[in-house]
Symmetry: C2
Subunit: 344 residues, 2 copies
């Protein structure tokens, strides 16, 4: 399909622009000049992050719906904003596009991006569009802001703080495993399998939950989103906060579907919960006196929060207490690392 060649870069930019429906009153100049121009809110911090999705590293074209890829590319960036207790405002989208990619793939990709923009009031204010020699490359940069008292970093966890997680981690990793092997060989309910794949393909950034946390009177001391895996990301908090952590296997939230599918297919559920990346759940610590507040606030919430352990003084050591009373250091269990293993 040579239609990308026909329209050229400027044609593509106009095409993308036509998909984008959210415009922020804070944006003075959006797409179309050398830079985008906007105003920052007085008294707030500006926060910024960037995340790339690369073909054959983060996704395969053969198992990817472009619309969901567009959603995910933006959602994983929003998740970084949520992890700081911020709200997203604007984003820039860089695409490296193989010449053989059909235009309708790009239209669907932008439809997905636009959906997430509308859901979270984010304006795409710029980007870069180039050919790519072989693989599709998507890099999004997101800008948000956070109230100076609401900013939550990785470095505030203190011994005695309690560790919580939103949702039920591990599903995305099982979804990825399902996608990268023949699904027919898998035992279990097809709806369950679809739910795992959905968790991988269309993760929901926990912005609502993050805002609930920062607006609560409970003192959240640190937070991170689980992109590398629960154990790895807890280690990141421990490293930044110069503390350790103990988590209890029996306390870890296990979704019914994950329990069912790992059990039926002889997989270790802990591998998925602890080391499975790309969950984009929030992992956070809070003052032990405030545990009740948070539990009450999330009592009827769509996304549950679960206490999974406690911060300790042992520097940078994460201990897993098993159900049979044994303890195991998670120091060497690491989240996914693109340079060590091939993701797909």
């Amino acid at each position: 399909m040579a239609d990308l060649k026909k329209s050229g870069e400027f044609g593509l930019i106009d095409r993308f622009r036509s998909h984008l429906k959210f415009h922020s009153p804070r944006t003075k100049i959006g797409i179309g000049d050398d830079c985008a121009v906007y105003t920052g809110k007085t008294g707030k911090y500006q926060i910024i992050s960037t995340d790339a999705l690369i073909e054959n590293i983060h996704f395969k074209l053969s198992t990817t719906e472009p619309h969901l890829l567009g959603r995910k590319a933006l959602s994983v960036n929003i998740s970084d904003i949520a992890a700081m207790g911020g709200t997203p405002c604007l984003a820039l989208v860089t695409l490296g596009i193989p010449k053989t990619l059909p235009k309708k793939f790009l239209d669907s990709l932008y439809r997905g991006i636009n959906e997430v923009c509308l859901e979270h009031k984010i304006e795409i204010v710029g980007g870069d569009t180039s050919a790519s020699p072989s693989h599709l490359f998507i890099n999004i940069t997101i800008v948000g802001e956070a109230g100076k008292k609401q900013l939550i970093t990785r470095s505030g966890a203190r011994p005695g703080d309690k560790i919580f997680v939103t949702g039920t981690p591990g599903q995305s990793a099982l979804g990825l495993k399902l996608l990268s092997s023949s699904r027919k060989k898998w035992k279990g309910n097809i709806k369950f399998k679809k739910k795992m794949i959905q968790a991988h393909k269309n993760p929901v950034p926990r912005l609502v939950e993050s805002q609930k946390l920062v607006n609560s009177s409970a003192r959240i001391t640190s937070m991170i989103d689980i992109s590398d895996g629960l154990a790895q990301d807890l280690l990141h908090i421990c490293e930044a906060s110069k503390v350790g952590a103990v988590i209890r296997e029996e306390w870890l939230p296990k979704s019914m579907e994950l329990k069912n599918l790992t059990s039926l297919n002889n997989l270790k559920i802990m591998d998925y919960i602890l080391a499975g990346g790309e969950d984009y759940e929030l992992l956070f610590t809070l003052k032990s006196e405030d545990v009740r507040k948070i539990i009450d606030q999330f009592k009827n919430a769509k996304t549950p929060v679960t206490q999974i352990g406690e911060v300790t003084t042992h520097p940078q050591k994460v201990i897993l207490l098993n159900e049979d009373g044994k303890s195991q250091s998670l120091k060497k269990l690491s989240g996914f690392d693109h340079f060590r293993t091939k993701k797909k």
Copy 2:
């Protein structure tokens, strides 16, 4: 070289970090959390832009020194900030790295980035580092700011305004041509050839000149940096400002080296000056009453500014007046477009 595999993503990030020496007092949190956090200056606009360099589209590994590639990757982004009359503050660097790329290549790349950071007081506050299946991708996002009265867009040109350009465009395109063919076949002084190649590999963003322009009492009405070629970028100004332009062939600044090399090798100098991209010179318009001011201000400047034409009422039409009195519409001469032609 499998050493990238050994160190993994987090090892690489630490390694990059060790190269970066500039830290801004405005940055509250740099590399190492989910987002970078900074404060915007009250009363100023925030400006943001992003630009990617992709292997085999924008550069070839075989003809690229990694140190200069690092410099260029950041410089082309700074150029976008300069084109708005802004100053750069911070940047994020995303790399998609083929596993076969030697670590020392990345060290040199970061050395180049760090040099430009120090030259322009830019802090690298974050980024993303991932494996790439085959080609090197570099995507930099830059954030800067501009005084509300100093911001210059593409859309302010009015009929009667005079058109100026900094430096001597066309050299980068000739440098690229030299790089992509056997240099031995080329007639001419080796120093001249090196200068052309240098213009391509190590473009200097015109930040000093931009600041001089916005701080001048002369009324600059529009500005753009020449990344797509002088004719194409002038068309961008005309399109955004809903005006036309006439430029005079005899007024276009021609570097002695470009004149010499195009003449010796039977190349049309106008092809390089008008359609050659990646010059990163500034193209701007100003009120005709202020021409004298600008000429006086740049009298002893290292980088000259040259008047090349005038803004007209003809919407979106750029006319070239040749030395022999003939006129030619440049509407169809377009800058380089990655989707239409292969750059290298």
